[in-house]
């Protein structure tokens, strides 16, 4: 079991109003699952994703990540978990514009404190694995959207995380490139990675093996992809 969430709630205070983004969510994710989280805007989808990615902590409830209780962790401990256990893929790629592909992929390894030689070696392997072995010194603005997202995926995987967490990974790509990225996810899943994709597109969710649907801060349905 990689992730176990029990009775998680999240409240936001917006002035005098209290918003219940999550109202008691239970979720378990096992190793080598391929999961899609779906839901309309305002369903708590983003909040759940932030929680899963250890970017945020629940107001109440339990969140165990690889057996560790992360719900009560402080900022720097969460940063450590994000660095080692979670690979993020963002809709807008979030690459550093002035750094080449290699340095972008090395970034998590810098925060892990690895030496330059080891970093370079591992970043090269990660870039080759996403088919960009010949683009290592290209800057983001010298690459296509699909290539940028591949760099981001290489960056997400370079530290061998427990989960790959992708937020609308194809949202900024044309449909053909989007399919390429989803094919890459399929490969990674076959290789044994645990993948969570947050999306509002049914086409994208269909690639996963399990779909969790949220509505009004609660899980509406949770089951295998038909």
């Amino acid at each position: 079991m990689v992730i176990r969430i029990e009775g998680v709630t999240k409240l936001y205070r917006m002035g005098a109003e209290t918003i219940h983004a999550l109202r008691g969510v239970n979720l378990e994710i096992r190793r080598n699952e391929y999961l899609a989280i779906m839901g309309p805007s305002g369903s708590g989808k983003s909040t759940l994703m932030n929680m899963l990615g250890c970017l945020d902590t629940p107001s109440a409830g339990r969140y165990d990540f690889n057996g560790k209780d992360v719900a009560r962790m402080v900022d720097d401990e969460l940063a450590e978990i994000r660095n080692r256990e979670i690979g993020f893929v963002f809709q807008t790629f979030n690459l550093l514009p002035r750094s080449d592909a290699l340095h972008n992929v090395e970034l998590p390894l810098i925060y892990a404190g690895l030496s330059p030689a080891v970093r370079r070696e591992r970043a090269l392997v990660a870039l080759r694995n996403v088919g960009l072995g010949d683009r290592i010194h290209h800057k983001p603005n010298e690459m296509s959207g699909g290539q940028r997202q591949r760099v981001a995926i290489a960056r997400a995987l370079v530290n061998h995380p427990s989960i790959l967490l992708a937020d609308e990974p194809t949202g900024n790509l044309d449909s053909r490139t989007g399919e390429e990225i989803m094919a890459l996810f399929e490969d990674l899943y076959e290789q044994g990675h645990t993948i969570i994709v947050v999306t509002h597109e049914e086409d994208i969710a269909r690639h996963a093996r399990r779909v969790v649907r949220l509505r009004d801060g609660l899980i509406e349905s949770d089951g295998p992809v038909p």
Binding site: G53, L55, D76, A79, E80, N83, N94, L96, Y111, L114
Partner: protein, 416 residues
């Protein structure tokens, strides 16, 4: 530890990348620091210079000489206590020397009477006014800090018979005998002819007030014969060990009281002066100038620091999303804090080094143009200004960097 090192290297990489990418902005920001550092270091250089000039002047008085005079070298509010003091006589010096000789292990070496008066001097058609005439004995050579550049000092015999010979200060010699040697020439002081037997080495000005080179030294008996005893007499007492000046002063005070036959409890009817007295009076003034100067120039550095703070705030705002990304990838608070601090410090340090270069060039140029100006560009000052630049960077970068490090990654990632 390894992690901190990698983070530091990365931070410097980012900082210089940022500075390069925003070249104009960085230059303008650094300019504020450059101006600040130039102002502060130039001020420091000037203060150093004043100090050196001041000490050089004081050294002319002799570090190991005590002056016995009627008046102290400080302002007195009770002049009536001084005005009726008995004048110092040649005899006082003789009796004082006998006391010194009789004292075992005396801290004092010799007391020399020196009569001083302003005079004018003539040589042929040339006339020079406002010259200081010192009438003294052959021991004078033992107490002055100047060397005789040409010729010699008069000896004890010449002094005691009052032979009309004299030693000229360098300015006097140059003005009365332009382009030729003054040695063995005749000068007229108040109608009497003196033969020049020596010329003093150049000494310079005393605190810019008067020149030590504008003087004539002659045998006391010759001067007194002319002045009819109206010359103002002082005793200069040489101390054996200048590190024990205070003890020597005490001994001298006791010896003078014996010579004067003063009773216990009676107030001294003489003053013992030394260069330290000047120092004590001028040090607070000097400190005041330094403080005011550094405060005013410090303000310009403060303006530079505000510029740095401003630009760091802008930098944090612009890169909020990048901060979010870095945090998502595992950057800790410390990492983000360091990143922006190093960016601020780098700009300050570059500004500081350029400023230091400008100051160095300026003080070298000034030194070449005005050699008389005591300018001191010290390595200590360099170290201090580098340190000041770093501190400025840390202080002004801290608030924005701290804010960046505390950003909520969720909020930062959503920022557009």
């Amino acid at each position: 530890m390894a992690r901190l090192l990698q983070e530091l290297v990365e931070s410097f990489r980012i900082a210089f990348g940022q500075i390069r990418a925003n070249a104009l902005r960085s230059v303008l920001t650094a300019l504020g620091v450059i101006i600040g550092i130039v102002a502060v270091t130039l001020m420091g250089t000037a203060i150093n210079g004043i100090d050196i000039g001041f000490n050089r002047s004081l050294a002319m008085l002799g570090e190991d000489v005590l002056y016995v005079q009627r008046w102290p070298w400080r302002r007195v509010d009770d002049w009536w206590n001084y005005v009726n003091r008995p004048p110092l006589e040649v005899e006082t010096a003789e009796r004082l020397n006998r006391v010194i000789e009789a004292t075992p292990e005396s801290l004092l070496e010799v007391a020399v009477p020196v009569a001083t008066r302003g005079t004018s001097v003539r040589a042929g058609e040339l006339r020079l006014g406002g010259v200081m005439l010192f009438g003294t004995t052959g021991d004078y050579a033992r107490i002055v800090t100047t060397d005789v550049a040409e010729g010699r000092m008069f000896n004890d015999v010449e002094a005691s018979v009052g032979r009309p010979v004299c030693v000229l200060g360098s300015t006097v010699a140059e003005n009365l005998f332009p382009g030729r040697s003054a040695l063995d020439q005749q000068v007229q002081i108040r109608g009497e002819r003196y033969t020049v037997i020596g010329i003093l080495a150049k000494q310079g000005e005393f605190l810019g007030l008067f020149s030590f080179d504008n003087q004539i030294v002659a045998p006391l008996n010759a001067v007194r014969r002319q002045a009819g005893g109206r010359a103002n007499l002082e005793l200069r007492v040489k101390v054996r060990d200048k590190t024990r000046l205070a003890a020597a002063e005490e001994e001298l005070s006791g010896a003078m009281r014996r010579v004067r036959g003063q009773l216990p409890g009676e107030r001294d009817n003489f003053s013992i002066n030394q260069q330290q007295a000047f120092k004590e009076q001028l040090d607070p003034i000097k400190a005041g100038i330094a403080l005011a100067g550094l405060f005013i120039t410090g303000l310009s550095l403060f303006v530079g620091a505000i510029g740095i703070m401003n630009i760091t705030f802008v930098s944090v705002k612009e890169r909020t999303k990048e901060i979010g990304t870095r945090k998502a990838l595992g950057a800790r608070r410390r990492t983000i804090l360091l990143q922006f601090l190093i960016e601020a410090v780098s700009i300050c340090l570059i500004g500081g080094l350029v400023g230091l270069g400008v100051t160095l060039a300026a003080s070298l140029a000034l030194g070449a143009l005005l050699p008389a100006l005591p300018i001191a560009f010290s390595p200590g000052l360099m170290a201090v200004s580098v340190l000041v630049s770093i501190v400025t960077g840390v202080v002004s970068g801290f608030a924005p960097a701290w804010g960046a490090s505390r950003l909520d990654p969720v909020v930062a990632l959503r920022y557009e």
